[in-house]
């Protein structure tokens, strides 16, 4: 090639290619828009034209009931949020501790390993709702001195117990996904087992499991509503209570919107992080 690139002109063929490409793009956009409008419109029409629609609108989408129930649902939702904020950090610490206990290689720590395995297996095998019941009704009934009998306390404990087992498994899969060459390199640098874990393995593992961890967070946010079943007046129970007195389901929809507002941003963030991670891991080689 000689001469500067300034007087370079795309060939006729290249221009034709570009025209074809942009025509295809435009065509795609038009078809996608029409398809979306038609499908959404058909779904909306099916909903609004169904014979039961007036009944559904009166039972689930009544503005008056939505307004009336809003204050108590808002109060209840604050309880969900508090519970989540308290439980989440404890779950992270406990989950990581459990995962590390399962990775321990020292002979002294064999009982600890066994306990950690047993804990994660048993706890993950019991439905979270059942754990909530067992802790809330069972623990205060023991009548042990110094044990609080607050329902909020025990419901939070139940969520922590349940989710720490799931999170432990997430951390463990992260730890096990770190390439053996990393361990070999650490050993070559004369790092002890603890130092290897602390400086080489765990940081990589944590970075890798951020998306699934966030997934568990979203799940925990929703599961705080399980405490409605033991009489804590959270958003769901506030909605149910209003609905039971007025025979109307609108408050449930209001409560659902609160949960959506809380979980959707986190779910989006989760996707963004997962994509970013994928890009980094592939190092641009798509």
């Amino acid at each position: 090639m000689s001469g500067s690139t300034a007087d370079w002109q795309p060939s006729e063929r290249e221009l034709a290619r570009r025209r074809t490409r942009s025509r295809q793009r435009r065509h795609g956009v038009v078809v996608a828009s029409i398809a979306t409008v038609v499908v959404i419109g058909a779904l909306g029409a099916a909903l609004v034209l169904s014979p039961g629609w007036p009944r559904v609108r009166a039972t689930f989408l009544d503005l008056h009931h939505a307004k009336e129930s809003l204050p108590s649902i808002l109060d209840g939702f604050w309880l969900n949020v508090r519970m989540f904020l308290i439980a989440e950090p404890i779950i992270l610490v406990l989950g990581l501790a459990l995962a590390l206990a399962r990775q321990a290689t020292s002979a002294w720590l064999v009982p600890l390993r066994g306990l950690a395995v047993l804990y994660t297996d048993v706890v993950r095998g019991v439905p979270t709702l059942l754990l909530v019941f067992l802790f809330v009704f069972g623990m205060p009934a023991l009548g042990l001195a110094g044990i609080p009998n607050s329902i909020f306390f025990w419901a939070t404990v139940a969520l922590v117990v349940s989710y720490s087992a799931y999170v432990a498994e997430v951390f463990r899969s992260g730890i096990e996904s770190v390439h053996p060459s990393q361990l070999a390199s650490a050993e070559a640098l004369a790092l002890s087992r603890a130092q290897t874990m602390r400086h080489v393995v765990v940081p990589q593992a944590v970075r890798r499991v951020v998306p699934p961890l966030l997934n568990d967070f979203v799940s925990l946010q929703k599961d705080t509503a399980l405490v409605a079943s033991v009489g804590l007046f959270d958003a769901l129970f506030a909605a149910a209570d209003y609905g039971n007195f007025n025979f109307n389901f609108t408050p449930y929809v209001v409560a659902a919107l609160f949960f959506i507002a809380m979980t959707v941003p986190l779910a989006r963030l989760c996707d963004v992080l997962a994509r970013r991670l994928a890009r980094r891991e592939r190092a641009g080689a798509l």
């Binding site: 058909a42 029409a45 039972t59 009704f137 009934a141 009998n149 209570d241 025979f247």
Partner: protein
């Protein structure tokens, strides 16, 4: 350009529209004349002409567990307990024999969901209120309930002599009940009331010391305190003054044409004294409870 492919592409949205209209066409048509308050005499209500969920059988719903004194031994079909006895008296009045009555379990919060019901009526200590009338139809009342307060004998709450005295204690009531509304509107406690899913949870909370006083309708409260919670007493009864006295009604699907016949049967049970006798038989203990102001 492949015309065949283009055609099938265009077919997808068309198919979606067709599917949607098909779904809409499958949904049941609705019409619901207002029935509440209508009454029909016995000669207009031959069993053969009654609109029933199951032919030749009166299907009655109630929640499980079925609590005393409304039902006995958690078995609505034994005719024992006030509501079971009332149900069989009504069935008899309508011309059904005892073995032509079948019971179905209907959790309270399922009883008012829109759409077809799988019972002819539901009997479950359900208070009639105007807001509820928009979703279901109610029969005329078969019992007027007062509210009552349960406390533990040795608790500070047992010292209370008026509703105002109770405001500083932790008070509990069951979700969706008039009792809970009474707590919020009449007693107005300083702390948020504790709300229970059912009577069992209320009992457990009182035994655990998580609540100082429980408000429930008088017969229920009387039974809980007499048989379920040791060392508890009824502090007293009061009328929740929401305008009308609180009445329990039978719950029907909106527009159910069986309702006027059942109202007729309730009216004749009131007239011939059967309802009063059943009340005397199953709920007689509750008359001696002091009034709280």
């Amino acid at each position: 350009m492949r015309p065949a492919l283009r055609l099938s592409r265009a077919a997808a949205p068309v198919a979606a529209v067709l599917l949607a209209t098909a779904v809409a066409a499958c949904a049941p048509a609705e019409d619901e004349p207002e029935q509440s308050g209508k009454s029909a005499s016995a000669d207009e209500c031959a069993v053969a002409d009654l609109p029933l969920v199951k032919k030749g059988v009166l299907t009655i719903g109630t929640d499980s567990p079925a609590y005393e004194p409304w039902f006995v031994d958690d078995d609505p079909a034994n005719g024992k307990g006030f509501e079971s006895a009332v149900a069989y008296a009504l069935a008899d009045e309508l011309g059904f024999s005892k073995d032509q009555v079948s019971w179905v379990t209907v959790p309270f919060n399922n009883s008012y969901k829109p759409g077809k019901k799988d019972f002819d009526f539901d009997i479950n200590q359900i208070s009639v209120n105007p807001e509820r009338e928009k979703a279901v139809d109610f029969s005329d009342g078969y019992y007027s309930a007062a509210q009552a307060v349960i406390v533990l004998k040795d608790s500070p709450a047992a010292e209370a002599t008026s509703l105002a005295d109770l405001a500083k204690f932790k008070i509990g009531a069951q979700t969706g009940t008039t009792s809970l509304t009474a707590v919020r509107d009449v007693i107005k406690p300083e702390q948020e009331p504790l709300v229970f899913q059912n009577t069992n949870n209320a009992k457990q909370a009182m035994l655990n010391g998580q609540v100082d006083a429980i408000v429930a309708d008088l017969p229920t409260a009387f039974y809980i305190s007499a048989a379920e919670i040791e060392n508890s007493v009824l502090l007293g009864q009061f009328q929740y003054d929401g305008g009308e006295p609180e009445e329990f009604g039978l719950l029907f699907e909106q527009g159910n044409e069986l309702l006027p016949c059942v109202n007729g049967a309730i009216a004749s049970l009131k007239e011939n004294g059967t309802l009063a006798d059943l009340q005397q038989k199953w709920l007689s203990d509750v008359v001696s409870v002091p009034e709280l102001q």
